[in-house]
């Protein structure tokens, strides 16, 4: 929900180019004393903004090429439709929003300066309805409309910095005295982030109301994140510093709702539509959570998925995987039940036969192990672990 880098590292994905810029600048540059005003510049009229867009475009293209970002799957198409509905008429024509889904089980969303918005599978699995999705998207779009990346850039790369001079040439007269310590720069940046988050929230509410979404969804998402943090909930939760800002934002949103939109409540939330559209994301996020050893979160995703599609063999198999991989006697029993259910639903589901065969093998039930491993190998002879299965089968037949 910020225009800075993800607050939780995501292996395999590169952080936003802006983060690199800001991180370098925080260490090397001074900080201008007053908030940066952009109103007099039209979008892309200055070299620094064009440079930021260019870098953002390259960074996004690299992530797409690596397969980390997706804008073409049905859930991504649906999310882009929601974003298109939110776009305000006053939005500059140059700013075309495009939303990508990032394959990352941690909850996050961020905006590049050029209108690209990224939302993680972890965040999509976390949200409850379309209004909450709209709140996240509207907030990130507001950062784009407010040109917050450029503000941050200019705030850090003030006239005293080398980066600024490389673009604009040497500053005239007393502007060259803009340098400051790294601590001052960090402090300035934190104040800027706080101001811009508040401004994006305010604009987000306007966009939600104009698109007839329930505006309280914006408060709902933030409040849930705070509650999760207090409960020591899922990984990817905001840290203590972010919680302070989240609390402040909730209070400001509540005030604005009361003062500016006192009669507006109960807009559309589209829970059923959201749950249906986001189904494939829940399944792939469960797989990511399994890979990261986040078994509880994987089960949350799968149980939500199975509420809508109870007859999906793959989901039952993955549920079994979450129990088996976590281990423990009770969980092994639950894993067995889930694998059996997957096979009942689809007798030709090789992965479930393999999993069941491995469990029986481990428990010393060699006859059952032999049956399921043989079935798995006949259904999927090119399984990447076929050499292991062949070795276990040989042991079963001894």
């Amino acid at each position: 929900m910020l225009f800075r880098c993800p607050d939780t590292p995501s292996p395999g994905s590169k952080t936003l180019i802006l983060c690199v810029t800001i991180a370098v600048l925080v260490l090397t540059a001074g900080c201008t004393a007053t908030p940066v005003k952009l109103e007099s510049d039209s979008m892309l009229s200055r070299a620094d903004e064009r440079m930021l867009w260019h870098r953002a475009g390259k960074a996004v293209a690299a992530e797409v090429a690596r397969g980390h970002y997706d804008a073409d799957s049905p859930p991504a198409v649906y999310i882009n439709r929601v974003a298109a509905r939110l776009r305000p008429e006053s939005c500059p024509a140059q700013l075309e929003f495009r939303v990508y889904i990032s394959h990352d089980p941690f909850q996050n969303a961020y905006a590049y300066p050029n209108g690209v918005i990224v939302i993680t599978t972890g965040m999509l699995a976390y949200l409850e309805d379309e209004a909450q999705l709209a709140a996240i998207l509207a907030h990130e779009m507001a950062h784009g409309i407010g040109r917050d990346a450029l503000r941050a850039y200019r705030q850090c790369a003030g006239p005293g910095s080398g980066e600024w001079q490389a673009i604009h040439g040497a500053p005239p007269g007393d502007l060259s005295a803009g340098g400051g310590s790294a601590a001052e720069t960090t402090d300035c940046l934190q104040r800027l982030v706080r101001r811009r988050e508040m401004a994006a929230d305010a604009r987000c509410l306007d966009m939600l109301v104009a698109s007839q979404y329930d505006p309280t969804a914006a408060v709902g998402v933030l409040s849930r994140r705070i509650d999760d943090s207090a409960r020591g909930g899922s990984a990817g939760r905001p840290d203590a510093g972010s919680v302070g800002l989240l609390n402040e934002r909730v209070r400001a949103l509540d005030r604005r709702l009361t003062e500016i939109y006192p009669g507006v409540a109960g807009g559309k939330s589209e829970r059923a539509v959201y749950r249906l559209q986001i189904q494939p994301v829940l399944l792939s996020n469960a797989e990511l959570n399994l890979r990261y050893g986040r078994y509880g979160q994987a089960r949350e995703d799968l149980n939500r998925y199975l509420q809508v599609r109870p007859g999906d063999a793959r989901a039952h198999h993955l549920l079994g995987e979450s129990y088996r991989r976590q281990g423990g006697r009770n969980r092994v029993a639950k894993a067995l039940t889930s694998y059996r259910e997957a096979i009942r639903l689809d007798g030709g589901y090789a992965a479930a036969h393999k999993a069941l065969g491995l469990l029986h093998y481990k428990e010393g039930r060699k006859g059952l192990a032999e049956y399921h491993l043989t079935t798995a190998l006949s259904l999927s002879p090119n399984d990447p672990e076929s050499a292991y299965m062949t070795a276990y089968l040989a042991d079963c037949r001894k």
Partner: protein
């Protein structure tokens, strides 16, 4: 190119500092290997690392890892009841979750006998932060409360010739678990 040399310089300095800093006393392990002639030990508390031409060119690493210690990148734990393919999956997930390794490519994942115990063998390629392509052959097995692994890692272009491979195979065949040893 300058960046790569600078990085190599920093890394070599770190290695020398490490070599001298960890020079205190013998390290005891619950395994043993035969160190090939001409190879020397890089002193480390955590692993047994040996090399012939320097650890930034190639090395063999043997680790005795308690099952209670979670893996760094995924937080996953091994269990004594894991089958070889399950242990291999945990290692593969850990490797793929390592943010320092790019262009990862798993070439082999097969069952193997490690020190007489059922285990696994992985072969993978990766590019290190300096842009050098490395190849690693990784053997692992669980014994009691520990996970043992033996790796040969080297620049993919060099050090995978017959001689290096023969030397590594000799080390692998000499690995004995439950065989206390100490290295000066």
């Amino acid at each position: 190119m300058i960046k790569r040399h600078t990085l190599c310089g920093i890394l070599l300095t770190c290695l020398y500092v490490l070599c001298f800093a960890v020079a205190a006393g013998a390290v005891e392990y619950n395994f043993s290997i035969d160190i090939p002639e001409g190879w020397w030990r890089v002193k480390s508390d955590k692993y047994l690392v040996i090399t012939r031409d320097g650890a930034f060119r190639h090395y063999i690493l043997v680790q005795e890892r308690p099952l209670t210690v979670p893996f760094k990148n995924t937080g996953k734990l091994m269990q004594s009841t894991l089958l070889p393919n399950e242990a291999a999956r945990i290692v593969v997930d850990e490797i793929f979750a390592d943010p320092n390794l790019t262009e990862l490519q798993m070439i082999e994942n097969n069952p193997a006998t490690v020190a007489g115990r059922p285990g696994f063998q992985l072969t993978f390629l990766y590019t290190d932060p300096a842009g050098i392509v490395f190849k690693t052959v990784y053997y692992g097995c669980i014994n009691g409360d520990h996970f043992y692994n033996l790796r040969y890692s080297a620049s993919a272009e060099d050090y995978f010739g017959q001689k290096a491979w023969r030397e590594f195979s000799g080390v692998r065949n000499s690995l004995k678990i439950d065989s206390p040893s100490h290295f000066e």
